[in-house]
Amino acid sequence: MSGNNPWGVDLKIAETVGIVGVPPWEMMRERIEKGDEIVDLDEPVPGFPVRDGYLPTNYCAILKRVVSNIFSLREAGRLHRVIACVGDDKCDGMRHIARWLSTATDIPVERVRNDSASGYGTPICESHLPLRAKFELIVEGVFRTPRPPEPLRKAAPRCGFWGVPPADFDVLELFPDGTHVYGWTRCMENKTPGDFELECLVDPGVPTVFFVQSFCQKSALAFNLAKKHGGLFVEVDSRLSRSARAKIEAFIRFNAAAADTR
């Protein structure tokens, strides 16, 4: 967890603010200008492994991580406030969790909805970069301007990955470079996380894996989009299983001849 001032100004940290989802960009800018430190609670926090017991066993691995991060960071005195997205821009699960958190902890939980319709574009999603690098940049871009390691070049899609940032980024290593990103992650980069039309956008003819976390309500959407577009529906829980890995490898091999994953 480090300071994250994108403008290079030495500012004193006022509060450590945990965020869930993609809060409005202006809100993030204000927080950073105030000198707050932002922690993305959807992501692993080094030194704080996920602890069970706060949510049912069969529940979204991302939200289990969010809640565990909140309790662990609070116990360590490293969290002052939570900004949680609870609208159409996030998921039903977080809406219920945010309500419960406000009664179960002493941390102020600010419930927000990001219904921004001002698109910032999706150059990372359509670039030549390896898929994992794309996701790291897009996640970073939730509260600061991402800095790609090299200038972005637009690439023709060889494959598609539709979905949210996975709990286990190892799944992203299975895809060839230049794989385009669709679904909610594309909405994240565009800073319009509630844009359902953009979330449903795919390139017809591009072999696409429709990925969801196990126990996520978005699986209904992913399942039916996969059927409509002849893609592959894949659910993964906290870790990529060997079966899920082999299934994705085979799909890419059958559909993108150049990608021999064996």
Partner: protein, 226 residues
């Protein structure tokens, strides 16, 4: 040392001896106990990574193996193993669709084998017109099965309903074709095959081995074939 190609499944390992062409099925645990007796040219299956450096994806092996055995231009093959089921649909001798139930729905195959042995059930004594119980996964399906027994169903009736639940899941997964080719351990189980509503053609337990021979032989990776 015997030279083999291996389909290393969860419960059973299927071996093809390259020098003699002989084939054998051994429990996977026993295979690993004598692993040093073999030189494995290539492998597929859940345990392939423990078995050989040269590995072939299971769905690739299934597609290639079935095309060696089935002359049809268009068909669907379903591989029913202990741990999961997977299928490939071929159109014009090319892969048109594929899927693999990786998590929910898993272990139904192993449960069929275990339950049949545990209850001592004879397949020809199962009722032919049973309903089905939901088999979300092997364990949840078994819970429903025992609920049915406690409601007064015989073990044969409850087991037949369990089989119908599994075969219904399989048919839904593959898109309900008129004819379905089936491979893997469960294709030797008559009770299971008879629980399908479509025509079922069993291909045996060596389909993935056929695929291995096809892929590895074609690539010429230092492999001199059977």
């Amino acid at each position: 040392m015997k030279r083999v190609v291996v389909d290393g499944g969860t419960c059973y390992t299927k071996l093809h001896y390259l020098d003699s062409g002989r084939r054998r099925i051994v429990p996977t645990r026993r295979f690993f106990q004598s692993r040093n007796d073999y030189r494995v040219a290539a492998a597929t299956g859940h345990n392939a990574h423990r078995t050989a450096r040269r590995r072939v994806n299971e769905l690739v092996a299934l597609a290639e193996g079935t095309m060696r055995l089935v002359p049809d231009d268009d068909f669907t093959v379903l591989d029913c193993g202990a741990r999961d089921v997977k299928y490939v649909t071929i159109k014009g001798r090319r892969v048109a669709a594929m899927d693999w139930n990786t998590e929910c729905g898993a272990f139904a195959g192993q449960m069929i084998d275990l339950l049949q042995r545990y209850f001592g059930i004879q397949p020809d004594r199962l009722p032919r017109d049973s309903k089905r119980i939901p088999v979300v996964c092997g364990v949840l399906g078994m819970t429903y099965l025992f609920d049915r027994v406690s409601q007064g169903a015989t073990h044969e009736e409850a087991f037949a309903e369990f089989l119908r639940g599994v075969s219904h899941n399989c048919e839904s997964l593959v898109g309900k074709p008129d004819r379905l080719y089936v491979s893997g351990g469960l294709c030797m189980n008559r009770a299971f095959l008879e629980s399908f509503s479509c025509e079922v053609v069993p291909l045996g337990r060596f389909v993935l081995v056929e695929g291995l021979l096809s892929v590895v032989g074609r690539r010429g990776l230092g492999f001199d074939g059977p």
